[in-house]
Amino acid sequence: MKNRTKLPNIYLGVVMAVLYLPIVLVVIYSFNESKISSVWGGFSLKWYETLFKDRAMFEALGNSLVLALCSSLGAAIIGTLGAYGFTRVKLRSKSVVEYISMLPIMIPEIILGMVFMTFFSLIGLPFGMTTLILAHTTFCVPYVYMLVKARLVGMDKSLGEAARDLGASEARVFFDITLPLLVPAILSGMLLSFAMSLDDVIISIFVTGVNVNTLPIKVYTQIKTGVTPEINALCTLMLGVTILLVVLSNVLGKIGKPKAGKHHKQTGELCGPGQTQ
């Protein structure tokens, strides 16, 4: 830290610029009048117009949102309960089941897609939203599980024990004491699951069914079959919403600081992504 040379900062800036370059170009070309992206045909909003008229695109967006919500919700329930259960019950099968349930984020996605497609076809489950949700939940569970587990490990157990000693039922201990403390971890796990589900192409391609196009699948076919700058317009909007959310959450976070301060302290240890053990 004594080294106050500017070189590292320049490096960070340059890499960041390269990371954002394609995104900026996509945004710029969303305002391009011409259909071919190598030609600049002047400023135009016509692709936004096309986008808003494109029913299929919005259906795909809707499907993706529903899918992401269901799978992150499912993962939240399964992952939270599972992580909680494992801290309270000692089972010999724990390590095996834990290992297997973590596999979906450890193996290449193509394998998951492959096994789900063959497996669902084996058990005769019709391809569609159900299969999508099942498949996505599978790879969302590990995210919630790991975050909740990390939170549970760092948590003060005496509160729950005290409550139990005072005669509170297991369910009450869980809902009144443990769960509220886990909320930040669950939410971040869900948020992450949501993002992963929203962006998944590979697994979705294999398990999707009739008239269930998710946004990434739609984008993939569009890119392969000739993109119209409509896609650029959509990306620009998504980016806008993301930035808006980030700004909004920052602003809200500042307003609610006195209230949120306690949470911040508790979650502080989790903030750094590198908290292992």
Binding site: I36, S38, A56, V66, L69, C70, L73, I105, M106, I107, E109, M117, S121, P126, F127, G128, M129, T130, I133, Y143, M146, L147, V183, P184, L187, S188, M190, L191, L192, F194, A195, M196, D199, G209, V210, N211, V212, N213, T221, Q222, K224, T225, G226, L245, V246, S249, N250, L252, G253, G256, K257, K259, A260, H263, H264, T267, L270, C271, P273, G274
Partner: protein, 368 residues
């Protein structure tokens, strides 16, 4: 696994910035409750599940059909015939109402019992079909299918970027075309090109011949810039490739955009194909499917479709409606009849395995 670290990213977002405000995720949970019901094969009248390549119908035609009949069209798309067949197999011939795919795959689908026999009573416009495109190998009795466009494999090149005169497949091997040829990703078409050059049939079962063709194809690898089924014409128009083996629809689009492009019907022989509509055997809405097929066979609707997709018009009642600028592209060139062209048909499992292997080898060679 791919995005594990994103975990960290989102954790930071959630914990660092959203810790104080739980509103964003909470608002979502209400919407989630009833949505599981949205799964696949809900058999309700007033719907039609259309399954074909992306961009096979102008939106106006689909909208007009819905406006007239009240049947909502759900358009889903596949990238290759094989994907379609795989999906149809896993759905056991259900889920979809109208499928449009290539001839040879329809033959397989029919053989597998995945296709429903058409009820021609419900298709009064059946007579509009040009008989030239009927009675082919995949449906000799015309019991299962209604053709929706036809095309031949053509070479297109940009004379501004190519120094030689191309008039055969063999010319694509010319060293001057290094890294500038675009080809389709249908391996039967591409391996077939090499087979044709050796005077073989597209449909030979002779593994040795296929392997010999594969060896010939390997020599083409340095010239290949791009392997792509859809939208090859855009790369032609933008100058990314200077010559390409294309389907009729792509030729139409490319030539409409750049009239200077040259179209070549390779001297080694012409490959010919038909796309057709069929109804899967367990289609959830067979009546809607028949109504749709009949609607598409109306001459004025057909005209709209063909001018949109750019394939040879298979509806003879629509021929005269086709506008002047499209006419040269939408009718079979003179002298071409179904007899002197060859269609790609199914081959034995051994031949197919040889094709797949040859193709994988070729693609890998192209990438180096």
């Amino acid at each position: 696994m791919k995005k594990i670290i994103a975990l960290a990213l989102s954790a930071v977002l959630a914990l660092g910035t959203l810790a104080g405000c739980s509103s964003a995720p909470a608002s979502g949970s209400t919407a989630a409750s009833g949505s599981t019901a949205a799964s696949g094969a809900a058999a309700e009248a007033g719907e039609l599940n259309l399954y074909t390549w992306e961009g096979m119908f102008p939106q106006e035609v689909l909208d007009a059909f819905t406006a007239e009949t009240g049947i909502k069209v759900n358009y889903s798309s596949f990238d290759t015939d094989e994907t379609m067949l795989a999906k149809l197999e896993t759905a056991k011939g259900g889920d979809y109402d109208v499928v449009i795919a290539d001839d040879y795959i329809i033959e397989t689908a029919i053989a597998e019992g995945l296709v429903m026999e058409l009820d021609k009573e419900k298709i009064p416009n059946f007579g509009n079909i040009n008989p030239l495109y009927q009675g082919q190998f995949f449906d000799p009795e015309n019991a299962y299918t209604v053709p929706y466009g036809s095309g031949v494999q053509t070479i297109v090149y940009n004379p501004d970027l190519v120094d030689i005169e191309i008039d055969s497949y063999a010319d694509l091997w010319d060293a001057s075309l290094e890294s500038s040829v675009g080809i389709t990703s249908n391996f039967r078409v591409m391996n077939g090109m090499a087979l044709k050059m050796a005077g073989e049939s597209y449909n030979t079962d002779d593994v040795a011949a296929i392997e010999a063709a594969g060896a010939k194809l390997l020599e083409l690898a340095p010239n290949v810039r791009l392997i792509k089924d859809d939208n090859l014409q855009d790369d032609m128009i933008s100058g990314e490739i200077s010559a390409g083996v294309m389907y009729t629809s792509q030729v139409t689009l490319a030539c409409m955009a750049n009239p200077d492009l040259k179209v070549v019907y390779p001297s080694e022989g012409i490959g010919f194909g038909i796309m057709a509509q069929f109804i899967p055997v367990n289609a959830p809405h067979p009546d809607a499917a028949h109504a749709f097929i009949d609607y598409i066979l109306r001459p004025e609707v057909s005209k709209q479709c063909f001018e949109y997709i750019g394939y040879y018009c298979t509806n003879q009642a629509a021929d005269e409606l086709i506008s002047e600028e499209f006419r040269p592209f939408l009718t079979l060139p003179e002298g071409f009849t179904a007899d002197n062209m060859e269609m790609i048909q199914n081959v034995s499992a051994e031949a197919m395995e040889a094709h797949t292997k040859v193709w994988t080898e070729f693609r890998t060679a192209c990438g180096q």
